[in-house]
């Protein structure tokens, strides 16, 4: 019983790490621009497919594909931003429609280029076991990218709190007009947020490619999960995203272990609804959440 519980929690925390990597980019963009980028999951997917292409066609280790994926995903994110920035009216709703449409275009582009087959890395190193105290089991890729993801998220958090550009992002999130009066260039700051989100999406995509399977419709699934976590955490709260993601991961994993794997998504949604019922702004919510 104890072994089952510990493994469930361990798996849940690692799964939460994956979820957080995807969700932080979404939260960052929302925090800066008050826009939900519904194509974010597809950007993650694009990074994963770039890693697949690099590995299958050029024999590159997926980690070595990060720079290439970063360029392609960064360019795609910049394109998404360029299109979003042309919206003058009803920015919230129109940006949802636009990014949803861009997500569909990206999914179909992936389908046309790489077909519908499932893929994952063929490098066995990533699938080797990591065993802790003969009780906790994980794949090497899960542990490596969980730790790497934590470092990256800590870096983003530090950047937001201690760099001039990071402070500009927070200022823009807090009060756009006041930030402009203080010399913050909104466009430059917003595109910077998109590029940082692209960096996170790239890392998440490589992590998913090495630890899970990828297929064209996965992007939408990731966007929905990231959106739930972002709302659960409190729209725009980056530290909250990690905690929310781990909570979702653990509740899903415990449900698999003690109830049924069929109900894991339902369990996550129940947690989400209960939290919103008790704390309508989410766990760490509030209008100025990104400033924390």
């Amino acid at each position: 019983m104890l072994s089952l519980t510990l493994q469930a929690l361990f798996s849940g925390v690692l799964a939460g790490g994956y979820y957080a990597m995807v969700a932080v980019g979404l939260a960052l963009v929302f925090g800066t621009m008050r826009i939900i980028n519904l194509a974010h999951g597809e950007l993650v997917l694009l990074a994963a497919y770039v890693a697949y292409a690099a590995e299958s066609q050029y024999g590159l280790n997926p980690v070595m594909a990060i720079p290439f994926a970063l360029v392609i995903v960064g360019a795609s994110a910049a394109l998404v931003y360029a299109l979003l920035s042309r919206i003058d009216q009803d920015r919230e709703i129109n940006s949802l429609i636009l990014t949803f449409g861009l997500g569909i275009i990206l999914t179909n582009a992936v389908l046309m280029i790489w077909a519908a087959d499932i893929h994952s890395t063929t490098a066995p190193w990533f699938q080797e076991s990591v065993v802790v105290a003969d009780t906790l089991f994980a794949m090497r890729s899960e542990v490596v990218f969980f730790v790497g993801g934590l470092v990256l998220m800590a870096g983003v958090h530090g950047w937001l709190n201690h760099s001039w550009q990071g402070r500009a992002v927070r200022a823009l999130s807090s009060n756009r007009n006041a930030a402009k009066l203080m010399g913050v260039n909104p466009r430059r700051t917003e595109i910077l947020s998109f590029l940082v989100a692209a960096l996170l999406a790239t890392f998440a995509g490589i992590a998913i490619y090495t630890g899970k399977t990828i297929f064209p419709s996965l992007g939408h699934v990731m966007t929905v999960k990231a959106f739930i976590i972002t709302v659960l955490a409190g729209m725009g709260s980056i530290p909250g995203v990690l905690i929310g993601a781990v909570m979702i991961g653990c509740i899903e994993s415990l449900t698999v272990t003690y109830v049924s794997a069929s109900l894991q998504e339902l369990a996550g949604m129940i947690l989400f609804l209960v939290v919103l019922f008790v704390m309508p702004s989410g766990l760490f919510g509030g209008r100025k959440a990104i400033a924390r």
């Binding site: 469930a8 179909n108 499932i118």
Partner: protein, 391 residues
Amino acid sequence: MVRMTGLMTAAVALTLALGAPGVADAKDYLLGSQLPLSGNLARVGQGMSEGIAVAVDLANKQYAGKHTFKVTTIDDETSPAKGVAAVEKLIAQGVVALTGGYGSNIIGPASEAAQKAGMVYMTSGGVTPDLTGRGYKTFFRINNTEGYAKAMIGLLGDMQVKKVSVVYLNKEATSNLAKQVQADLTAKGVTVGMHEFDGATSDFKPLLNKVKLQDRPDAIAMVGYENDYVGVLRAAKVLKPDVKAVVGVWSLATAQMAKEFPDLMENVYGTSMLPYPVEFTQPEAIEFSKTYARLFNKEPDYLGQFGYVQTKLLIEAVLRADEAGTLDKGGLADELRKTDAQTLIGRVTFDEKGDNPNFSHRMGQHQQGKVVLVWPPEAANGKMNFPARPW
């Protein structure tokens, strides 16, 4: 001389008017196909679509100069509602019959729309008993849950395993098959542990840990799709449960899986009509394989094979019904019920519900990058590695 020339000209004109043999009967037949070419089932939909294309290509070759066949395909995007819309659109375009469909939850409403229009719907993509249980006159399929269960049970029976954990996806077709396997194994005195999972599951370690610590089975039986198998096998590779075999069903013992996941597949069993590399001996099978390679530049897989067989049988029935003058009068379903053919998947006949009672699958095992047929013994082209795990 002039009179003679006139007579000859008249004779030629009369011959052309009355028709050289077959020319007057020449017809273009348009088939409709509703398939998931995008969405979660895009991979399997594409596979079946390729088999359909091969059947149409070969029919055009066989009946060259007499009849032509075309197929119009509409992507249902793995959505039941869009499946219905696709069927209605194809019927409006004047197709003579429908071939395609993947996923029981999509085929159900799509074939219902076809039934309402009196249009024949032929498939190999939905195996749940509920589909034929409706008793639709226009619904036909060449495979079914029983055929997959027979193969899985037969193999596990030969292995003489005493405890089996069934890990299955909570969709209609997979749940039905898993429950049939459970019932059949239980009847044989085998202890069965059932573990359902959702399609969104990507981390199977908590589930496999239950299998390892609580069930302690001799074999793990997986009923799902490709990404599920990869997830289960990766989790099992990490947790290393003490089993003698890992068995699955469709989409597992394939060339694609052997190529994409060589480190995971060794010794894994799955349903397979064909070994890999493909070995064909019958003339029809060789022709099918050559045409498939010509059209798609790869070896055929089971999806293509099923798509080919269902469409070939449909085309033959369309021609018979047309010759009998009943094609426009609902006679196609009656002609299909008269089908009794030896095909690439074995004998096919249709019962009153449109099911093929002869269907029984075969089991293959991944062995060093190949898929070796290991069950039934009469179809085997190699010995099975047992006990043997993928890790």
